[in-house]
């Protein structure tokens, strides 16, 4: 059956048509003449004007060939009204009885009836194709369901990234928008998302979501592309461009030309550059403080939401999103300012700028993760921030929430109750399915990582993960049995040192490869910039040493815990059973110590053993520290420093000159003997 309308319109012009409804229910049509006067007009006349034949009801077997088309020359407003009226008639015809008198009253012509029949036949055809339509619909629904499931899975993954602060701004914005909506809706889809995520924890299932935008996965790529373009632009320092233009200009303009304009442009540029440098230095500290505050606020909100009980008010999705945007905006502003500032420094190459970016990117990623983690710990209610910004147990004796145990487990992997041991290492290797001889300690994360072929550094990753947990999640034994945050606090001390800008000089290494005289002047600027920017960036060799101290376990699987030290330099100088020959003057250990800013007892203990040429590992130093803490519960290790108690730990109150308590040194020596460290 054709789907064309029954008749073609004729070309007779019509004026404006109006319909008037009278109280008795009769409707009449009028055509307005040029003066606006109403002239009665029949429905048939209108129908004819639209190409409908008025007369007996035709036996319509098939639709006429031509469709209904409004004459272009007619008044469109009038046509629309007339057509609307005609459609109203047809609709009425369908609803009411098909009594010819009723039709006449309503102005329904035979043509209208024919058209109604035609519509019905086409409707019947639609029913005939219902099964096909249903099939198509079913397939479409199936595809939609699959797509929805995929989106839910994607969103579940996105949720994790957001909760760990890893999501991009666009991702986070989208996520929080969805969460904001979902908070006011039933949680049906939350279960779906949880299922898609393999989440066995009902209370942590992703909150109800709507369909994710298809571009979510692509956005980071776009960002990267855009960022790449920006980087490419930034990689061409302004100074280089300006230099090039100057060179060109100098070639074109004769040096003796009296009409040559003075190169004031360069002077102005230099002034601008200097101004920017000055401003950058003046505002940098404030910018970094603002960034730290924004980062902290964002992490706090994310941590609060991760507790699941706090998703309204302060912890609403909108608030979190705003915090994220503020953090990212500040970060980007600083990065842009840095790029501009560094690029202005003559002699600084793109390579140096890349180095600065790398330092910042690594450092900022870590800092955000650390900040978020600290806030999550505090959100458990078992920890709090102290005045130094470190986290500490709210009270002694806290066993700690199970989460702490979870982290502790990572710390204990490959260790035998806090110590590396041959057995534990072999077990780790066996669990990982990696043969001994791979040259690495393997944690229990290794099997997962090693299972992914794309991850070439699997063993290394597992190794580092283990070491990192060993460093920051050491489980403190003893009566407190509190999640020990010693390593954490120690690193925080280092960060505090960095925050004071004292690490800036470390970045001079970045440009040490440059031998130009000019670089010497720039080095200080570069170091200042990068040092301040990195914040949590380079910590010199201290962290490396810290890790390296733990990484003493040889890859041959021996698991020997003997520290690396200079052969033959046995400087214990003690008598039998470790008793010093001269109490208070332990041979090889000097009482006086110069505490570096940011150092804790474990570092000072390592330095102490260095006096005897012994490289005490981080683990060993921590073990010794715990031993001393048991022997000297008040933490008075120095004679002129009472230590400060940071919950479950002792810290050195002041940097600078100090003296080891002779009794402490005796105990240190005794411990070294008992542990065959010499």
């Amino acid at each position: 059956m054709s789907e064309q309308a029954p008749h073609t319109p004729n070309d007779q012009p019509l004026g404006e048509i109006v319909q008037q409804e009278y109280a008795n229910g009769v409707n009449h049509l009028y055509e307005l003449d040029a003066e606006g006067k109403k002239q009665p007009i029949s429905y048939d006349a209108v129908a004819e004007a639209y190409g409908h034949t008025v007369g007996p009801v035709p036996q319509v077997e098939e639709a006429p060939e031509a469709g209904v088309e409004a004459p272009a020359v007619r008044d469109k407003q009038a046509e629309l009204r007339a057509h609307a009226q005609w459609k109203q008639k047809v609709n009425t015809m369908d609803r009411d009885s098909r009594n010819s008198r009723d039709f006449a009253k309503q102005g329904i012509s035979g043509e209208d009836v024919a058209y109604g029949d035609w519509l019905k036949e086409n409707a019947a055809d639609d029913h005939a194709g219902e099964s096909l339509n249903n099939q198509v619909k079913a397939e479409a629904q199936e595809a939609a369901d699959a797509e929805r499931q995929e989106r839910l899975r994607g969103l579940a993954a996105l949720e994790m990234r957001v909760k760990t602060g890893a999501a991009t701004g666009e991702e986070a914005a989208y996520y929080y928008t969805m969460m904001e909506k979902a908070e006011e809706e039933p949680a049906q889809e939350a279960a779906d998302a949880a299922e898609a995520n393999g989440d066995h924890r009902g209370s942590t299932a992703p909150e109800p979501v709507e369909d994710a935008p298809e571009a979510v996965e692509e956005e980071p790529v776009d960002d990267a592309a855009e960022a790449g373009e920006e980087a490419a632009e930034a990689d061409a320092p302004e100074s280089e461009g300006e230099d090039a233009s100057v060179d060109d200009e100098s070639q074109e303009v004769p040096a003796v030309d009296p009409n040559a304009e003075p190169e004031v442009e360069d002077d102005r540029s230099e002034e601008e550059i200097e101004s920017r440098r000055k401003n950058a230095n003046e505002t940098r500290q404030e910018d970094m403080e603002n960034l730290a505050e924004a980062r902290d606020n964002y992490a706090q909100l994310v941590a609060g939401r991760s507790r699941r009980s706090l998703t309204i008010g302060k912890y609403s999705a909108k608030k979190v999103q705003e915090a994220r945007e503020e953090y990212e905006n500040l970060l980007n502003d600083i990065l842009e300012a840095d790029a501009e500032f560094i690029a202005d420094v003559p002699g600084v190459t793109a390579e140096m700028i890349d180095g600065a970016r790398a330092v910042h990117a690594f450092g900022e990623a870590r800092q955000l993760a650390r900040t978020l983690h600290n806030h999550r710990m505090v959100a458990t209610g078992n920890f709090k921030f102290n005045e130094n910004g470190d986290i500490e147990a709210v009270k002694k004796g806290i066993i700690g929430r199970q989460m702490n145990k979870f982290y502790n487990w990572f710390g204990s992997v490959n260790t035998d109750r806090g110590r590396f041991s041959t057995g534990a290492i072999k077990k780790g290797l066996a669990v990982a399915g990696i043969g001994i001889g791979t040259g690495a300690v393997v944690g229990l994360l290794a099997p997962a990582v090693a299972g992914v072929a794309a991850l070439g550094g699997s063993v290394l990753i597992a190794n580092r993960i283990t070491k990192a947990y060993m460093s920051t999640r050491l489980h403190r034994k003893g009566e407190d049995a509190v999640f020990a945050n010693h390593g954490e606090a120690r690193l925080q001390e280092l960060y505090g040192k960095i925050g004071n800008g004292t690490n800036g000089v470390e970045m001079t290494d970045v440009i040490d490869t440059q031998s130009k005289t000019e670089v010497k002047r720039n080095r200080r600027r570069m170091a200042l910039t990068v040092g301040a920017t990195a914040v949590a960036g380079i910590v010199g060799g201290e962290l490396v040493q810290h890790f390296a101290g733990i990484d003493h376990v040889p890859g041959n699987g021996s698991g020997n815990h003997t520290p690396n030290h200079t052969p033959g330099n046995n400087g214990t100088g003690t008598g039998h059973n470790g008793t010093p020959n001269h109490p208070g003057k332990v041979d090889g250990f000097k009482e006086h110590v110069n505490v570096e800013a940011g150092h804790g007892y474990t570092q000072e203990l390592q330095d102490l053993f260095q006096q005897k040429g012994i490289n005490l590992s981080g683990q060993q130093s921590f073990d010794l520290y715990n031993h001393l803490a048991e022997k000297f519960p008040k933490g008075h290790f120095f004679t002129n420093d009472p230590s400060y108690n940071r919950g479950s730990d002792f810290g050195i109150s002041h940097s600078g000159s100090a003296n080891w308590d002779p009794r402490v040194l005796e105990e240190v020596n005794r411990w070294a003997q008992e542990n065959s460290i010499s």
Partner: protein
């Protein structure tokens, strides 16, 4: 620096930096990964599961602990792999800004 370290250095494009700085940056990468991964895995467990985990952990059998963990978190392997790549991507994105 072993071969795995060198691969990562190449992947991050930091090979022109002094080796001490390279090592430092890799250390930061691993710490970031460790923290983020730890948070993600922790989020996969309910309080009850964490309590169970504590019991398994305290038994001292690392093999059993890993088995328990992978059972409790069916997509454990994938989570580790995904987050490893995610951290890399985030750092690279930061470097490109």
């Amino acid at each position: 620096m072993n071969d795995d370290d060198k691969k990562l250095v190449a992947e991050f494009g930091i090979g022109t930096l002094p080796e001490a700085v390279q090592e430092e940056l890799l250390g930061q990468y691993f710490e970031t990964l460790e923290l983020r991964l730890g948070m993600i895995l922790e989020d996969q467990l309910s309080d009850e599961q964490l309590a169970q985990f504590e019991q398994v952990h305290d038994a001292g059998d690392d093999d059993a602990t890993l088995t328990w963990l992978k059972t409790a978190i069916p997509n454990y392997d994938q989570l580790v792999a995904d987050e490893t790549e995610a951290v890399k991507a985030d750092i690279k994105r930061g470097m490109s800004k």
